[in-house]
Point group: C2
Chain length 662, copies 2
């Protein structure tokens, strides 16, 4: 019943995910903008402050929240280091502030306010009791002045000085303040969590000497300049562990294996070791360290694959048979999704009484690689392990290593994907791979960039992966690769390609209707000829450079689609909060034919002036256009360039801007 | 860490208001449909059940939840009595059910399933341990059959019998089941909370003998047939308590009072008593009981006004001066909203150390009237008292008297109004009073009928009140009253008018630009001539009768607006969940001129057949029209009838429906 007299209500605080059950996600250096509905009965206006601290700190820091429209208040705090931060809100009715508003109105109406002044004096006197000596003395003196009933105007003139208002605001009467019922958290991630360009590559196909031998980490180092030149900053390697021999898959995923077939890197574990070991043909731990170091010198971070599954030859199978599911005949259950069988894979069983030991071991595996300098992990099929397991594992890792990034490779149902993201995955694979039409691109990315989704689900868009050669790329030739690249690189601040298959425009499926690559690198060593003239490396370099110099493309929240005529050209803008950087992308989705459209630009929203021309600078072709209205003509030939990426330059100088005009 | 192995996730359960902080609202007899996102890792499909009970019961009841699209599950339970109900969800992976799905697929693919059968047998054996003797024996026999490895087809044929599947489903393995983290509540209200037609009337103006004397409760009884004939079922009386003398307001809210001026009923309290007393000129407690009884015989419930404020003559002022705010000069602070002063009103102060006693007293006041048979309260300005106070007071009242209805008269900012509704108010005043244009009506009612708003905010629409004669009624003459009546009565299942001013089309404001009535009944006794030909009683009677026989108009959730050409005609349908009752209302919002439009009907949504005509039966004029397509012409003359209220009759009989055709 004591609660009754707490007059202020605090509701709908954002960011807040599922009542604070999960942390929101932000990148280091960002301002965390916190809002809340704050109101009370009657006419009094509440005062509110945001409380925040790095998790683990004992003291809260605070800053006042400012009222906006419709009883919504806002404040923000900056986060300069990675890790967890906590925040909450408190609000109260400040009797002096509300008294002050009332007295002003009465005075304006010419009413007698002598009684009010005495009341104000009493409040100042009380504030003096809350203040340290110096301020207390100043307040007491003024309290007496008010209570003496001296001439009003004089007092008002005095009180109106912002110094005095500020002084009183320093010692508010917070009796009966309301605390927001929850302490919320935000997970502050390294910058690369929000903005990254990934390149997936099989190290074993990196030997460039034409010998066809198994590539090594040292070969990868040789490849780094090529990758860096294209502008990628994450180099993601499929599992680097020893590969199983039993039931090893042959070329094109057949069950017949030739003597030189290297097997799938995802069939982890052999007599050479398991998840803590390196496949001997790739090199040593020392080589691996060299690769990490060399990559960093190129501004590239190495990402490892976490695939928590075992080949039948994995040491766990003999050392910890209790971590697998045993069949009645004593054999271990291989992976299956009836009628499909994966006999080269033994799944780990999280439903036995030994599950907790298993989980601890898997955590230790991740920590093992973190200790060896790995900062980014791409997690294979996380949705086939308990979702709460990942929440626990990632939480544990980030307690000590808040900089680590986890990318969830969950191509599964939407609820599961979102839960993995809320549960801690820094980045997530998406349905982008299959979203080719204008309406589905618009619908999907509008949903992904809205709150609260954008607060936890950070998309990483992949036009292709070793498992997925989408139909669109099979059918559309080189323009299709350009189109999908531009879309991936501009619709999301993180994207990736599986190369060199991508930049070489490899488009042959295993069979018609299949999304698998023919002669997939998953099952054999491929000798890539990077010097083919079709190589898109120059175009990719340009796109990644555009991303690097335009902050609008380095975040996901500010995205608007613009209406265009027809279904062939999709058009959207991304922009920074302050609109200082606006990037408008227009893509012809038809890889075969030229299309044109009339594009409708929301000039006001983009802070453009209908009366003055503005410059559209195409960062792909370097051409510049002058536009001046909201209706604008566009034409895109997929065989020349299927897209524009315009930087909108608002200020176009006229003669008046130059000295000699004066 | 134990949580890790709970594989099933339960999220986004609805209805749920602010994480279960508030109860959803439903009416007695409804099905409470509960949904949730339920999913797990991997391919296993979760089983789920809804748990529910009347609050206070120790045992949960349960029913299985059925999967719908996109990992959403649904179940429902019926509520046959008013009061609070609790519900929650639990879900688990049923190994047998998932095993069964897998085995079927493997069998279809012609694979050997002998090992699977043994596993199935083991599960049946375990189920036997959870079953009572008879079922246990049956299960054990079958377990042996499975484990013996007999011919598969035979077993499948046996197991396929739904009896056996049901038998196993009775004893699922719920190890590691997941409980939803919250127990949610729904407040089940009497039917009249959802569906009601209110009539506000000043008892003191009810003396029909032409003498001009002060009306009494007995006069009100005489007026009941008139009110009942119009079809209202709630008769709401402004405060019936003694009226203060000090600073009493005169006619037209002046500060000069004539000797016969009765004062505002909202200036409560005199030497005759306070909130527990009846104004002597209205009659006695016995008379009041007679009125309640007589009204019930007409199907009318009496609603009282709760206005927690005092005239300077209220007994509280002398008995409990500590419940008021004292000024430095010892006087009690009257109500003010600078520069406005309300010297006839002393507000109660909820910020003193005596606030809890005050709150208890106010609760006792409400209980006092409940004990005297009052079931409905209209609360005056609840937003000027602490919002949590109401939550506490209504909660306390409804613990013992779940049938009581509280209407919140809060014409204030949206967040506050919504919080009052969430906090327990059964019905709420709305902005309808000022929503006259097509777009604003559409926007406002689309918002009000969407979840979660519709789960707690039950609108009660008032075209006028003693305080508000809206501009629209001042300007539009008789058609304006008809238009606003039809809108109020069809846009919401609860509405009310302040009469007889409404049905007599009183439209004279105190002065131009004012919303106050001239010679307002708030400050004087008015002698109404109900026999004026302008009286809308016949029209009102028809509208209320339409509401009574059409369940579509008795609820708020199923409302869709239909596109019409132009801004003059607004058109919408309301319908029952099963579409057996569809009411389409079209209103010409211009009270001066005839307008026509083409209306677009969503035939599919309304389950109408494009190929077959359907009948539009105008329940106002009784005219019938045959329509057959989604584009239809409408014309409305405000001076004849400014609205259609169509019942859509789907089935139009043809010769094939009659025996003699055969």
């Amino acid at each position: 019943m004591k609660e009754i007299t707490k007059r202020v209500i605090i509701e709908n605080v954002t960011p807040e995910i599922e009542g604070g059950r999960f942390a929101a996600r932000r990148a280091v250096g960002e301002k965390i903008v916190v809002e809340g509905d704050i109101f009370a009965d009657g006419h009094d206006i509440p005062s509110a402050q945001l409380l925040y601290r790095k998790k683990g700190d004992s003291e809260w820091r605070s800053c006042p929240m400012n009222p906006m429209l419709n009883d919504r208040y806002q404040a923000s705090f900056e986060v300069k280091t990675t890790g967890r931060y906590e925040y909450t809100v408190e609000a109260w009715i400040d009797p002096f502030k509300n008294w002050w508003e009332k007295v002003k109105k009465k005075e304006d109406a010419g009413e007698n306010v002598s009684q009010d002044l005495v009341e104000g004096g009493a409040m100042i006197e009380k504030a003096a009791l809350r203040a340290p000596t110096e301020d207390a003395n100043l307040l007491s003196r003024n309290a007496k002045l008010f209570q003496s009933g001296e001439r009003l105007t004089e007092l008002l003139l005095f009180a109106l000085t912002s110094d005095f208002i500020h002084l009183m605001a320093k010692y508010p009467d917070k009796t009966n303040k309301t605390d927001y019922s929850r302490i919320l958290e935000v997970s502050v991630e390294p910058l690369q969590a929000r903005f990254s360009a990934w390149y997936e590559m099989f190290p074993r196909s990196c030997a460039d000497d034409g010998s066809g031998r198994h590539g090594t980490f040292i070969d990868c180092i040789e490849r780094l300049p090529y990758i860096a030149e294209m502008g990628f900053d994450v180099l993601y390697l499929p599992p680097i562990h020893p590969i199983g021999v039993t039931s090893r898959k042959g070329r094109n995923n057949t069950s017949k294996t030739g003597p030189n077939d290297p097997g799938s890197p995802w069939a982890i574990g052999s007599e050479d070791g398991g998840h803590r070991s390196i496949h001997p043909e790739l090199g040593t731990f020392e080589d691996f360290q060299k690769l990490i170091g060399a990559a960093r010198r190129y501004g590239i971070e190495i990402a490892l694959d976490i695939a928590f599954q075992c080949s039948p030859d994995h040491p766990y199978v003999s050392e910890h048979p209790e971590w697998f599911r045993k069949r009645p005949d004593g054999s271990i259950q291989y992976a299956e999704n009836p009628p499909k069988k994966y006999e080269d894979i033994f799944p780990l069983d999280f439903e036995t009484e030994h599950a907790q030991e298993l989980c601890r071991e898997l955590l230790d595996v991740v920590l093992f690689w973190i200790e060896r300098g790995v900062r980014i992990f791409r997690v294979d099929n996380p949705h086939t392990k308990p979702l709460r397991f990942w929440e626990w594992l990632i939480g544990k890792c980030k307690e000590k290593h808040p900089d680590v990034i986890f990318l969830s490779e969950a191509f599964t149902r939407p609820k599961t994907m979102h839960r993995l993201a809320r549960g801690g995955f820094t980045q997530s694979y998406t349905y982008f791979t299959w979203r080719n039409l204008k309406w589905e691109i618009e619908q999907y990315f509008e949903a992904l960039t809205q709150s609260p989704t954008v607060d936890y689900f950070w998309p990483n868009l992949w036009p292709n992966t070793p498992d997925i050669l989408p139909e669109y790329l099979q059918m559309g030739g080189r323009p299709a690769f350009l189109i999908r690249l531009v879309l991936a690189a501009t619709l999301s601040s993180s994207y990736g390609v599986y190369g060199p298959a991508f930049e070489l425009c490899v488009d042959e499926p295993k069979e018609p209707g299949s999304e698998e690559y023919n002669d997939s690198e998953k099952y054999e060593i491929v000798q890539w000829d990077l010097n083919q003239p079709c190589n898109l490396k120059g175009f990719i370099q340009r796109i990644n450079r555009i991303r690097r110099i335009n902050p609008a493309l380095q975040q996901n929240k500010n995205l608007i689609f613009h209406p265009t005529q027809g279904e062939d050209i999709v058009c959207y803008s991304k922009f920074t909060d302050d609109l200082s950087n606006i990037i408008l992308t227009a893509v012809n989705l038809d890889p075969h034919h030229t299309h044109s459209t009339i594009l409708k630009l929301p000039l006001k929203e983009l802070d453009l002036d209908d009366g003055r021309p503005f410059q559209m600078h195409d960062l792909i072709s370097d051409a510049r256009y002058m536009w001046r209205s909201n209706d604008n003509y566009l034409e895109l030939d997929p065989h020349a360039a299927p897209a524009h990426i315009f930087r909108i330059r608002r200020k176009v100088r006229t003669e008046r801007d130059f000295d000699y005009f004066m």
